[in-house]
């Protein structure tokens, strides 16, 4: 019942919320007719093909929530609906994983924490970016691993890497888990090889555009950004390799799959500069962790999402879209703004907010990545 209600709300919002800047970027990339940018991008034109000409597409991108033009709302819906179905599929996969690792109730709880989370709604349907496809593939990969279908699990993981790179960060943890579960050496080699095939696929579509997609650009992929200057050491690589070495040394007896996977992503967040929607990657694991492993982390999870949401609010100028409206559907960019919108724009322009509050929120979120990783990694020693 609850899932039906939330689904209804998500579908309605998918139709009426204005298109985000990220959606506009995707459309621009397709129209620019450059080298294909990712296997998922080529799926988009078919979703808005009924907008037969560029004018209608432009109208759709600039359409505010007040416009009752059904065609434009249908384009919004058709672009976002596949993402909603993937969102729903992750809910089902989480229920399965939760049931395998804990109980039916904890599986449902994990699914609900994922599906009812407003951050998922914003990071998936409303933003309209396809990170959710890679997330679904790696959650399905975990489900297949628990279902003793190791090869299928590896194939799904490789597909995830092909789409969005980040699931490769989970490979050491998955191999460690396979070793603990007495998986054969052959299975582990196949998992590794398939993942690297996925990586080759990823490189094949990113390199024609620029190697910078692999090293510097933020929105599409940012696997190894620099934290110590471009000519200095690569901080991300350094910290991640150190982390994996520590994990292999200290998590020898850890049998909890979530406690191995989740810190890998959280540490990656801490050494990269993640775009807000990237936080969706760890969301299924965090849901499983709170539902199955340790309920006492629910307060930390709540703090994490409050900080992530507030940080996103400030960094995106209150979720501004090309239409001049926010994703929260209030106007931000016109001349006759209501007092509520004016108060928000003043808040965003206030120097004390920019100098004091925004660093406080961003830094607290960063500390939250580390705190959560430390708290989960603590279970390695238990």
């Amino acid at each position: 019942m609850l899932v039906t209600l939330i689904s209804g709300a998500k579908i309605v919002l998918s139709g009426i919320v204005p298109a985000s800047f990220d959606l506009r970027e995707i459309v621009t990339l397709i129209q620019s007719a450059h080298a294909s940018l990712g296997p998922w991008i080529s799926l988009y034109p078919s979703l808005y093909n009924h907008a037969s000409n560029a004018t209608v597409t432009e109208q759709w991108l600039l359409n505010g929530p007040g416009n009752s033009d059904l065609t434009l709302q249908l384009i919004s819906l058709s672009v976002r609906l596949p993402l909603f179905f993937l969102d729903l599929a992750i809910l089902l996969a989480l229920c399965y994983v939760g049931r395998s690792l804990g109980s039916v109730t904890s599986g449902r709880l994990a699914g609900l924490i994922w599906f009812a989370n407003p951050y998922s709604l914003f990071g998936i349907e409303l933003l309209g970016v396809p990170d959710v496809l890679a997330v679904f593939l790696f959650v399905a990969s975990i489900a297949m691993l628990l279902h003793k279908r190791a090869i299928l699990s590896s194939v799904l993981l490789a597909l995830g890497v092909w789409v969005k790179f980040f699931p490769i960060l989970l490979l050491p943890a998955l191999l460690l888990y396979q070793a603990k579960s007495n998986a054969s050496r052959r299975t582990m080699i196949i998992t590794t090889l398939l993942t690297f095939v996925g990586l080759a696929g990823y490189l094949q579509w990113t390199f024609p555009s620029s190697h910078l997609f692999l090293t510097a650009y933020s929105p599409v992929a940012q696997p190894f950004p620099f934290i110590a200057g471009e000519v200095a050491i690569n901080g991300s690589a350094f910290v991640l390799i150190l982390f994996y070495c520590l994990m292999i040394s200290f998590a020898k007896n850890a049998r909890n799959l979530i406690a191995l996977l989740l810190p890998s992503l959280l540490v990656y967040y801490a050494v990269s500069n993640p775009a807000p929607q990237y936080l969706v990657w760890a969301a299924p694991l965090m849901a499983l962790d709170v539902a199955i492993v340790n309920r006492s982390r629910s307060a930390l999870l709540a703090i994490f999402y409050v900080l992530a949401f507030t940080n996103w609010f400030f960094s995106s100028s209150a979720f501004l879209t090309p239409s001049g409206y926010s994703l929260l559907m209030f106007p931000l960019g016109s001349d006759n703004l209501p007092s509520f919108s004016l108060a928000i724009t003043r808040l965003l322009d206030n120097s004390a907010i920019i100098n004091m509050l925004v660093p406080l929120i961003s830094s607290a979120l960063y500390a939250c990545f580390l705190a959560y990783a430390i708290d989960v990694a603590r279970t390695w020693f238990q």
């Binding site: 206030n350 100098n355 961003s362």
Partner: protein, 394 residues
């Protein structure tokens, strides 16, 4: 033993008095200017000028008696600015330097007494209390930054330590009041506030007394300043824009310009304290809060004299936990190797090495205290319990 301590105290006082006659440099000239501006404001009745000293106004008020006394002395009174005062060896300037350092010296003695009281009470050993006083009083780092440099930071530190002392006696309203007063003079006690709340856990009445003392007194001070027009809310909010060096305390940028090292370290320390410390005690909490701030912030901005904020707490802490001895020695030896303080002028290219060693030592101390508390968590005992057990073993 007691008479030997007395001789050390008298000898230390003589050395300190001599060192107080050193020519002014660094922030002492700025603080003298602030006192000059405030004295003019009082004598002319134009309090609008109070906004000029900015965050130093509170400290300037405390220096007024010394400055006023200097203006009454039958000597020449050169203009109070960098051009006329910096490293000047003229008698009027040396006299001003000495007089301005008198409140600093008094706060130095007062802080030593508070450290001694805290240690004597916590360890139930008056002799340890006396040793703590001497450790504070004769520490070369303290002597340099307090008595030679004239670091006014010791005044808010003394008030902060008075708050810690009152808290240890369960006088929470007075403790909150002292912390608020110290926060008006220097911002660091504000950072300690969320840490100190951990002391209360389920003791809501005590927490309420502490918060009333802290929040209400701050509200009264700022309410008075706003109501009388001394400052405006826009002026308070705009302080970081005018005195942009305050933002240096946020520390290095990490992954982007909004992720600041100080905030991250403090938030992480707060998490570790609330999540992993078994029984949060006042002195370790106060120590880690100030040390976390200084470990992160000073890597970028701030000066050596800001470490005075942590010095009495570290002295108290090491006397209560002898297993911190090495960390304590390492911290203060490396602190004394830093630029400015070293009696032997070191080549500037060694700065990064000496400061690097100091930051490593501070971080090590922070980890040491945390490990002590988490060890206590693992064995379900407080730090003091472990200390008593360790003494028995010896």
């Amino acid at each position: 033993m007691q008479s030997r301590s007395t001789w050390w105290i008298i000898g230390g006082a003589c050395v300190k008095f001599l060192l107080m006659f050193t020519p002014p440099y660094g922030d002492l000239v700025n603080w003298a200017s602030v006192a000059d501006i405030l004295l003019n404001a009082i004598s002319t009745g134009h309090y609008g000028q109070v906004t000029v000293p900015g965050v130093y106004a509170g400290l300037g008020l405390l220096l007024l008696p010394s400055f006023w006394l200097w203006t009454r002395l039958p000597v020449a009174h050169p203009p109070v600015n960098q051009a006329h005062m910096l490293f000047s060896t003229s008698m009027p300037v040396l006299l001003l330097s000495f007089l301005l350092k008198i409140p600093v010296f008094l706060a130095d003695i007062g802080t030593g007494i508070l450290v001694s009281t805290l240690v004597a009470r916590a360890t139930n050993s008056p002799s340890k209390g006396r040793t703590a006083f001497l450790l504070w009083y004769l520490n070369p780092f303290n002597i340099y930054w307090i008595n030679v440099f004239g670091g006014m930071d010791i005044i808010p530190t003394f008030i902060f330590m008075a708050g810690v002392n009152l808290g240890s006696k369960e006088k929470w309203f007075g403790s909150g009041l002292s912390l608020a007063f110290a926060s008006v003079l220097r911002i660091f006690p504000l950072f300690t506030f969320p840490f100190l709340l951990a002391v209360f856990r389920d003791k809501w009445r005590r927490a309420f007394s502490f918060m009333i003392g802290f929040v209400v007194s701050l509200a009264i001070v700022f309410g008075f300043a706003l109501a009388t027009g001394l400052v405006t809310s826009t002026w308070i909010i705009g302080t970081p824009s005018r005195q942009f060096w305050l933002l240096d305390f946020f520390g290095y940028n990490l992954t982007n310009s909004y992720v600041k090292l100080t905030y991250v370290v403090i938030a992480l320390q707060l998490f570790i304290t609330y999540r992993y410390w078994h029984k949060a005690e006042l002195i370790p909490l106060a120590t880690v809060s100030v040390l976390a701030l200084l470990t992160a912030a000073q890597a970028y901005g701030g000066s050596g004299h800001h470490f005075i904020w942590a010095s009495p707490l570290l002295t108290t802490s090491v006397m209560m936990n002898p297993n911190e001895k090495l960390a304590y020695i390492l911290t203060f030896v490396t602190a004394c190797l830093g630029p400015f303080i070293s009696p032997i002028p070191l080549p500037t290219y060694t700065d990064t090495l000496t400061w690097g060693a100091f930051y490593a030592a501070k971080t090590n101390y922070l980890l040491r205290i945390n490990l002590n508390q988490i060890r206590a968590f693992a064995t379900n005992k407080t730090t003091l319990d472990l200390q008593v057990a360790s003494n028995r073993t010896r």
